[in-house]
Subunit: 251 residues, 2 copies
DNA sequence: CCCATTTTGTGCGATATATGAACTAAAGTC
DNA sequence: GACTTTAGTTCATATATCGCACAAAATGGG
């Protein structure tokens, strides 16, 4: 791509939107400038532009995003066939398993939920379409990483901050690569309280007719309810069934 | 705001993202230019910028958004306290009612779902946080419009394309204004299959401690299961209870 | 209350971007 | 197979934006 085919004002503006991340509902110009590492004047113009277009509010001191900003992310969810296609299957799956079922895709080092059917929430995490989790310690993340060439998976792990969320979290890159091989061989991944104590899950890849992995499906369950060792026995048949039903339908 | 405080390249880029709306997963440069009414060269640069940043893919012919684009909308959901705050209450509400419960805010002529606890899906509509419905024919929309000064509500209705989605849809502006007065007086709105045949719902406003309406809560039910006339009797006490519990907590 | 510090707003030269016409390529039509 | 339509790209030039430097205003200790 040529230099002149890049609109840096647009790129800077997107960076400013992303500055409103976790627990940052209100930003001043200076705060946004610090987070984005852009010039204050630039950030100010971007924020005033957002405000002018109704994507943000400004009280003279703080900027906040408005719900209009969700049109941008929703453009993906409503434009991509996958979420709508898998939703009824997730509903069924969730119903039969009596547990929450989700579908996600990989974005960089994270999995992004694109559809979800949730049963009564017991965990602290509130997941919904658009939510993100680190790939290395999520069952769907393991399945999606395992589908990549090993060098790519290594590359992603290298870029990931491998935090021990619980005492059970695997954080050694070599252990993880080893685990990915196992996942690839057996066709599913089980996570036993690596993300949050008390939460287990099992995931399988969702393939299209050509055998390419396009997403992952999972079932999550409270550890108190189902031991991790029972997950495969109880839920793998259901997941495989859904995987098989969707395979000819995607892409 | 001064002319020079507006970054038009940013504004144009946002318009291009929004071009990927309903059922438009793939766009060529010319299609996007037609939808946005921008010059083809401008659209091309915006799309190439999105592609360069990983927000879009380009196969030489078609552009598609990637899941990374959801970071933008999710910035609102994760940064705004309301969705996380109401979610557990919606779960409880949904559980007690045995029906889906949702919370939404107004954005222009539409309501935007910010949180939702869904029971087994029976309707064709798949709603999730970020989903939008026209305000004039949705129960939460009626409640939110009723909370505005009448001139503003009129203004919004004037900008709305008042479509008869079903034979029961109210489309006359004067009828609607009259209905909003009724909603304001009784403190709740009931919709009887105005959006989709077979779907009824009841909504109440969600107020903060100062009495300002900040969102709406609703319960939706299949008409086959609960007649519209029974909605208030069955669900209003639950909705009022939730409304009361949340009132001191919001804002 | 005042000084130090931080934050915000503005003017301007250097640089980046948009425009629209012209050109090339591909697809559709007869 | 030539003609028409539609799509994508390039380029020169007019215009808009960037980021620095400075001024003004707000904030926070002491």
């Amino acid at each position: 791509m040529r230099e002149t085919d890049f609109v840096s004002g647009f790129a800077r503006g997107l960076k400013v939107i992303e500055a409103f991340g976790e627990a940052r509902p209100r930003l001043t110009i200076a705060e946004a400038a610090k987070i984005t590492e852009l010039d204050r004047a630039t950030v100010r113009r971007s924020l005033l532009t957002l405000s002018e277009l109704g994507y943000a509010d400004y009280d003279g001191k703080f900027f906040t995003l408005t719900p209009k900003i969700m049109r941008l992310g929703h453009a993906y969810l409503s434009a991509t066939p996958l979420p709508a296609l898998v939703q009824p299957y997730l509903d069924q799956l969730s119903e039969k398993a009596g547990q929450s079922a989700s579908a996600s895709v990989l974005d960089g080092t994270e999995v992004v939920y694109v559809a979800r059917a949730s049963q009564r929430r017991v965990m602290s995490i509130n997941l919904m379409p658009g939510s993100r989790l680190p790939a290395y310690c999520a069952s769907m993340g393991r399945v999606l990483l395992a589908a990549l060439p090993e060098t790519e998976a290594r590359e992603i792990l290298k870029r990931t901050e491998l935090r021990a969320n619980t005492p059970r979290t695997k954080t050694d890159p070599e252990d993880l690569i080893e685990e990915l091989r196992r996942v690839r061989a057996q066709g599913y991944a089980v996570i036993d309280q690596e993300l949050e104590l008390g939460l287990c899950s099992i995931a399988v890849p969702l393939m299209n007719a050509r055998g390419q992995v396009v997403a992952a499906l999972n079932i999550g369950a409270p550890a108190a309810h189902v031991a991790a060792s029972e997950l495969a026995e109880r839920y793998l048949p259901l997941l495989k069934e859904t995987q098989g039903a969707l395979r000819p339908l995607v892409q």
